[in-house]
């Protein structure tokens, strides 16, 4: 009996050993997970709470998230109140003081990002119920991807200082890769500088700005508020007046309404998967960056013909 239990203990320890040596990292999104893996590689085990094809504003606080955060060494979120409706509940129930807001294993990824549309006047809910802290959809811009990776690196070093050198090296290598993709994309989309586009939700601004194009307006006049018939009609006017070349929508927002605007105005619609693992060829963050640029290029060159 005693022998068996000793054996069992050893087995248990043996099985758990690799888990102990690696940091268990939980992220809210697939993009953060992909970047977190690049920065940590063999030193971390990374899991995203949501799937790629998810509207991050609306995620039920699933109890299995609690179990994951309970075991986490590092918790990473996008911040700017993108996920605040569900992460606060999950963090409070996770019984893991290490990753509570403000603690050593907590990482908010936006730190240092040049946030678009920061609140600069009185804000109230008649203006829509999302983005009160500024636009939180910053990761589709590769430069922000680099900033995210630096924040993650700093968190890893805080939690696991003995591997500081490695995290620094991995992050540098990742940064190099992002820059390569960024330069390729800049080159690819250079001919379209100044092109005007329209989005459905306020989630393309960072990406479009990076490639020197312009988001004229969004179909959702107020973030999160379903546009009514009057707004859809007005959109046609805005699109034609501004010479808009393309309408952008993400796979998880209201494609049907965006399609209607596209049909009314005769401007093509592009469903752009700006989250990792949200469509084909977006397996990693870098793939997503490449694919979205490629899709923009193809859609815009078709228009040119």
């Amino acid at each position: 009996m005693k022998k068996a239990s000793v054996c069992f203990c050893f087995l248990y320890f043996f099985l758990l050993c690799p888990l102990f040596s690696r940091l268990y990292v939980v992220t809210t999104t697939t993009d953060l997970a992909s970047i977190a893996k690049e920065v940590g590689r063999d030193l971390v085990e990374v899991e995203s709470l949501t799937f790629g094809n998810t509207d991050l504003h609306f995620v039920p606080a699933q109890p299995n998230f609690i179990v994951k955060v309970n075991k986490a060494d590092v918790f990473i979120e996008v911040g700017l109140e993108l996920e605040s409706s569900w992460t606060s509940l999950v963090l409070n129930q996770a019984r893991n003081n290490k990753v509570m807001v403000g603690q050593i294993g907590y990482c908010v990824a936006w730190q240092g990002v040049n946030v678009l549309l920061p609140p600069q006047q009185e804000i109230n809910r008649s203006m829509g119920d999302l983005h009160p802290q500024g636009n939180p959809h910053y990761w589709p811009d590769p430069v922000n991807g680099i900033i995210i990776s630096r924040n993650i690196r700093d968190t890893y070093i805080r939690v696991d200082p003995k591997n500081e050198k490695k995290y620094q090296q991995y992050q540098e290598e990742f940064e190099k890769k992002v820059k390569e993709v960024l330069f390729e994309n800049l080159k690819l989309l250079k001919p379209f500088a100044g092109t005007r586009v329209v989005g459905y939700h306020q989630e393309f601004d960072y990406l479009i700005n990076r490639y020197k194009m312009v988001v004229v307006d969004n179909i959702e006049e107020k973030p999160g508020v379903l546009p009514g018939p009057a707004r859809l009609k007005a959109m046609k006017d805005i699109i034609l007046r501004n010479g808009v070349k393309l309408i952008l929508v993400s796979p998880w927002t209201n494609i049907a309404l965006a399609r209607k605007v596209s049909q009314d105005s005769g401007v093509p619609l592009l469903i752009l998967p700006i989250q990792t693992k949200s469509a084909e060829n977006t397996e990693t963050y870098l793939d997503m960056l490449r694919t979205t640029a490629q899709m923009l290029y193809e859609a815009l060159s078709k228009k040119e013909k």
């Binding site: 039920p60 109890p63 409706s85 807001v101 603690q103 730190q111 630096r150 330069f183």
Partner: protein, 406 residues
């Protein structure tokens, strides 16, 4: 080193991008680093302190201002006057809740929630009662995967009871819920003061065991203090969750309650419940929920010198779905069944309910709902009645929106 690499890369990629552009990006990254450093250095010398979710310069001072909210619930009710009048046939403010929540200190998170609602008990004649609905401290970070809640709270009995009424998918409590929770006059749920300890099982799936001990002077939603008892009210709940495919998940739970209704230690009410919920969502546009809750309650009364002992019982269930489509609209249906047996009458009677509703939700902070209900009543000695009810409900939240439970 980095510079040379970029130069190398530049040459290899036919240098279509101007050097100025690259410089701009490097400059931007340096600025980001600086912004980040500034935010960090503003936190002082403690390296442990990391920035919070909000933008600097726009951080809400959560140390001196808790989250504050008001929830208002206005209902117009009308019935066809079946076997007896069941509504007031007019519009009324059903309830206003005022709440505050926030971290008390490094150890505890506090919650204070007050309500003004009518109590239709005959002694009170529908007067507005100012009631402490919930007032508790949460201890989130106890060792051994424990979590504790101390104070007054809605009991975590079944699925519905611990969810606030304004967060329900329907206007009125299911018949079995009102009966089991002994809340016929407010129609919200059973609350009591005590302590609740929840243990998160160490498995890879979510399973939580909860034990609660409460005052047990009264059971339900009464506004009196009740009487002293020989034993407290005991609560046990086991809850688990499994993600199924995609964004479909299921949660199911079992509940046990032991309550002493009288001063005699031999009189006991036992309540057993089980509940299951399925939820599915596709972003904000489509959401679906299905829930069934089953309850069985036994009331043991010990013999006394003047009366023989007896055993009454009641059981029932409700099952409902709600489907949210096109982001702002929702439809739902609920079936209610409830049956009781009182030894004095030596007969069973039962109730059936069919409820349909349509909800319009312009945002997360308000909804407007039309509810149609048909209640069938099978009373003693073959009495049968049916009543049709209509409810128009408007509910809104001012201020902080408490996060929804799963």
């Amino acid at each position: 080193m980095r510079k040379t690499l970029i130069w190398l890369f530049l040459f290899s990629s036919a240098s279509l991008i101007a050097q100025t552009e690259l410089d701009e990006i490097e400059k931007e990254l340096r600025e980001a680093e600086k912004r980040g450093e500034e935010q960090k250095s503003a936190m002082g010398s403690t390296p442990r302190l990391v920035p919070v979710r909000q933008r600097t310069g726009f951080i809400v001072d959560r140390a001196s201002i808790p989250d504050i909210f008001t929830v208002a619930d206005i209902v117009h009710e009308q019935d066809a006057y079946g076997i007896r009048r069941e509504t007031k046939n007019n519009i009324d403010v059903r309830e206003v809740e005022f709440g505050f929540s926030g971290f008390v200190d490094w150890l505890a998170h506090g919650n204070a929630l007050f309500a003004l609602h009518r109590d239709d008990h005959q002694d009170l004649q529908g007067r507005y009662i100012f009631d402490i609905h919930e007032l508790f401290l949460d201890f989130y970070n106890l060792p051994y995967n424990l979590r504790a809640r101390v104070g007054k709270m809605f009991l975590d009995a079944g699925r519905l009871n611990s969810i606030h009424r304004h967060d329900w998918f329907f206007t009125n409590a299911p018949l079995i819920h009102k009966a089991v929770m002994n809340d016929l006059f407010v129609g919200e749920g059973a609350a009591d003061t005590g302590i609740e300890i929840a243990y998160l099982m160490p498995w890879d799936f979510f399973q939580e065991l909860k034990i609660g001990i409460f005052r047990g002077r009264i059971f339900g939603h009464g506004h009196t203090d009740g009487i002293e008892k020989a034993a407290p009210l005991w609560l046990g709940r086991l809850k688990q969750f499994f993600p199924l495919v995609g964004n479909l998940g299921t949660e199911f739970g079992f509940t046990y309650l032991r309550y002493q209704p009288t001063i005699s230690p031999h009189d006991v009410d036992y309540t057993y419940g089980s509940d299951i919920t399925f939820r599915w969502f596709h972003s904000r546009i489509y959401r679906f929920i299905f829930t069934t809750e089953f309850w069985y309650k036994e009331l043991y009364r010990a013999p006394t010198p003047i009366m023989a002992g007896y055993r009454d019982s009641l059981w029932g269930f409700y099952t409902f779905f709600d489907f949210i489509f096109m982001q702002n609209y929702g439809v739902g249906y609920r079936f209610d069944y409830y049956e009781d047996y009182y030894q004095v009458y030596a007969q069973r009677r039962h109730y059936l309910g069919n409820t349909f509703w349509f909800t319009y939700r312009p945002s997360e902070f308000a909804y407007y709902r039309l509810t149609l209900e048909a209640r069938h009543y099978h009373g003693y000695d073959g009495i049968y009645g049916i009543n049709y009810l209509v409810f128009l409900q408007g509910t809104y939240i001012l201020g902080f929106h408490l996060p929804h439970r799963y």
